[in-house]
Symmetry: C2
Subunit: 215 residues, 2 copies
């Protein structure tokens, strides 16, 4: 498991990419590692090191060129290529994801929704075609879907994830309250509201503890 780029570095570079896209809209053409640092909370040292790992750019005294840096990061990780995604499970959370306005302006295109409840599917207003959960495997293959947002009920989570994997997705973003363990090289990220709140409170507790210890 020796990745040439550390996973935390991949996470930081991915955040930087999103930030660079925003900066482009604002018309800023140059940005220094120090500025990137204060916008993200990362150390400038760390940012420079991360960038140097994926390929040196020209040096200079005005910081990084927005466009070159966005391109280097984007090409390294494939952010410049369009990708198809779907949403499985269309209760409130899933429906919100399906209609997320940001996805469309990114490299991801949400091209299908899946649910088990026919009545609900008829009530949802969306331009995206909707299918039954049991059609996942077929539709994922047919439509070339690479990424999935999973927001089904806990009971359906494991089974639906398996269907997605069999269909051939490369990654699953799991919002259902079940930990899905990584499998067959398919990337999984588990994002569970209570878990995230809990982590916030744990980090706060660890911080307070540390302050006490330092007195």
């Amino acid at each position: 498991m020796n990745l040439n780029i550390p996973i935390p570095a991949i996470e930081r570079l991915t955040k930087l990419f999103s930030l660079l896209q925003k900066i482009k809209i604002e018309g800023k053409e140059k940005i220094s590692s120090a500025e990137l640092g204060s916008l993200t909370g990362f150390h400038a040292h760390n940012i420079r090191k991360d960038i140097s790992m994926i390929g040196a750019l020209e040096s200079g005294k005005n910081g990084y060129d927005q466009e070159s840096l966005e391109n280097v990061i984007g090409n390294t990780f494939g952010f410049k290529r369009k990708k198809r995604a779907c949403v499985a499970g269309l209760d409130m959370l899933g429906a919100a994801m399906l209609n997320n306005p940001d996805a469309g302006s990114s490299e991801f295109e949400i091209i299908a929704g899946f649910d088990s409840n026919t009545n609900r599917m008829e009530m949802i207003s969306t331009k995206v075609p909707l299918f039954h959960l049991y059609e996942i495997e077929e539709k994922v293959k047919e439509l070339g879907i690479e990424y999935a947002i999973l927001a089904v009920t806990p009971e359906n989570a494991i089974k639906t994830a398996e269907r997605l994997v069999t269909g051939g997705v490369k990654g699953i973003l799991n919002f259902s309250p079940i930990i899905i363990a990584p499998k067959n090289g398919v990337q999984i990220r588990n994002i569970y509201l209570v878990e995230e709140l809990r982590l916030l409170s744990a980090l706060d507790a660890a911080n307070s503890q540390q302050l006490k210890n330092n007195i």
Copy 2:
């Protein structure tokens, strides 16, 4: 910044806590580090090391006692104490969070919602009291709200986060598509749909790259 417990360990222990709660419901009283490992994808070694950092339990040959382990982790990070939370921004995503059925069965209680749009607030069906965004500071103090879920529009994100911090929250879970940098010791977690999908694809790209290198 020398935490006595590494942040990745805190993340793993938090996940273990949630898993232990589920295991309790299933009636399982003992579980080994190996079993915990296969359920989470972590290494058994790592799990034992993490647990040993927060306090040794009795040793044995049947693995960990579900209840003791849940208590040790819970007490270390304060998961046994009730905590009040709110949701700011009540479009589809925010409304879904407000009505999330899992929060109620956890230590978190969502006791207020905030939005800027009076018409929308009248249309939302919820038992939680709703207020205007400009009342945040006052209500956070008055109601003793410790954690906030931020799902406002990008334009309102920074300002709303500042109000929450001024009001005295300890952590913010930010779902709006703006990176909010940590400030004044308030914990922030930025969860942005496109960013998370992008990270999945970046990890996949890094993996593929690595496979190529290993040939």
